[in-house]
């Protein structure tokens, strides 16, 4: 009798040993923490409209950008409501890594060449052990104005052609549709027109996008100049637009009161007034080329 009892106990213990410890979920045995998932595609493109978005081109990817701003709507029938005139910028922008991108652009507005870098400092975490509610990037650019000197008779320095911009990009993707960005901006101008003009200009940028479908989003952007540091002829840049995505292209179509397509330009040199019809139709076309393929790791 006792032997049977012992056998039963042994069998029973053996049986219980065979059971996975946490019911039928083997994965929970590993006790792995929830993986960290970063928000992606907060904006469709590296630009909200004129200004930088939190997005970078991926590492090894070249983005060829063509941007146009036509003349103002109120320029009348003789200029075909602005379509006869165009400011443009051509640029090559490249991702050194997923976090760091650089770009070089040429614009016919003031014959400017711009160079910039944009660096991701941290990324919004959607789910995982460490919560990060927003993404932060740093943007810096240098612009060289190429036009003839206004006063060639005096001694002019090369550095007088240079402008600098520093920007922090703070963005949050609230859900699949809505993303909002705030961009504190600092622009330094080595040479200004008059003694009364300030060299340093501060601005706050606001940007947002609302995604309507996989391929279509609407965007809005506003740059507010802080303090009274610009002449009264200057206005704040306001732009509204749509993003259309088709495979490797993103088409950004918009209306704006700015004609420049680099930061120091549209932030500190905008003079158009929406109320007076100084509105320009414009577009950015972005085409990406994968220069360095992310090779799938070789299987052992």
């Amino acid at each position: 009798m006792r032997q049977i009892l012992v056998c039963c106990i042994a069998l029973f213990s053996g049986f219980s040993w065979c059971q996975p410890e946490n019911g039928d979920d083997l994965l929970s045995l590993l006790g792995d923490p929830d993986p960290v998932i970063y928000s992606t595609a907060t904006f469709k493109s590296t630009r909200v409209i004129n200004g930088q978005s939190i997005e970078n081109v991926a590492g090894g990817v070249m983005d060829f950008r063509v941007s146009h701003r036509f003349g103002t709507f109120n320029s009348g029938i003789h200029k075909m409501f602005g379509l006869d005139l165009a400011s443009m910028r051509l640029a090559f922008e490249y991702g050194l890594s997923d976090r760091v991108m650089v770009g070089l652009g040429r614009s016919n507005v003031n014959e400017e060449v711009d160079a910039f870098t944009k660096i991701k400092i941290f990324k919004q975490v959607e789910s995982g052990s460490n919560k990060m509610p927003f993404s932060l990037s740093y943007f810096a650019s240098i612009v060289m104005r190429g036009t003839e000197w206004a006063e060639p008779e005096r001694e002019n320095y090369f550095t007088s052609r240079l402008y600098y911009c520093h920007q922090l990009l703070l963005a949050r993707k609230f859900n699949d549709q809505l993303s909002i960005q705030i961009s504190p901006t600092f622009v330094h101008r080595n040479l200004v027109q008059t003694k009364a003009d300030y060299h340093d200009i501060y601005a706050l940028g606001y940007g947002g996008r609302y995604k309507l479908s996989r391929r279509l989003a609407v965007n809005a952007e506003y740059f507010q100049i802080l303090g009274n540091r610009l002449p009264s002829i200057n206005t704040n840049s306001l732009s509204l637009g749509v993003d259309l995505e088709t495979g490797g292209h993103v088409f950004q179509l918009h209306v704006t009161n700015s004609s420049s397509m680099n930061e120091k330009g549209f932030i500190t040199e905008t003079t158009g007034e929406w109320g007076k019809g100084d509105i320009q139709f414009g577009f950015n076309i972005s085409r990406v080329f994968t220069i360095k393929e992310k090779r799938p790791p070789i299987k052992q």
Partner: protein, 184 residues
Amino acid sequence: MKKYFFVIGIFAFGSLQMLGQNFFTRNGHLGFFSKTNMEDIKANNESVTYIMDLTSGEINISALQTNFQFEKALMQEHYNENYMESSKYPKAIFKGKIDDMSKVNFKMEGVYNAKVSGNLEIHGVGKPYTVDAVFKVGGGHVVAETNFKVKCADHNIKIESSLKNNIAETIDVNAKADLTELKK
């Protein structure tokens, strides 16, 4: 008294054997391939978790969608953003079992073919699958390998009509993992 020792002996031996019942890896492979006349798309994930109970033949696999590496970054973004909705459904999970444990003997070195059945959840939609798998046992390792097909529509993965020529309706999936003992 002798019988007691015998029983205890079995008990101790049994428990020792049981300690080594779970084999696992966090660096398993999962890859897929979409072939159309227009475009070949492939992606690989080399940090897939596999865990297997050698006594019961149970297998669990968990793959993070955002860990699939594509050749083009834009494809990867579209995969996660448009098709997998990875923020909502971050993982693909398989929970299954070897159908017939008499086909395999994990205590003996060798190559065993066996069917594995279970539920594969992709994009938040589960579907039962039965696949032919190969298990190579030896040197403290179990290497598991399989190939099977997944239909996008089965998991409610919607492909817009304009891209029907670029993305295959049926995707070839391959899985391979080198599992070792899970030590407590």
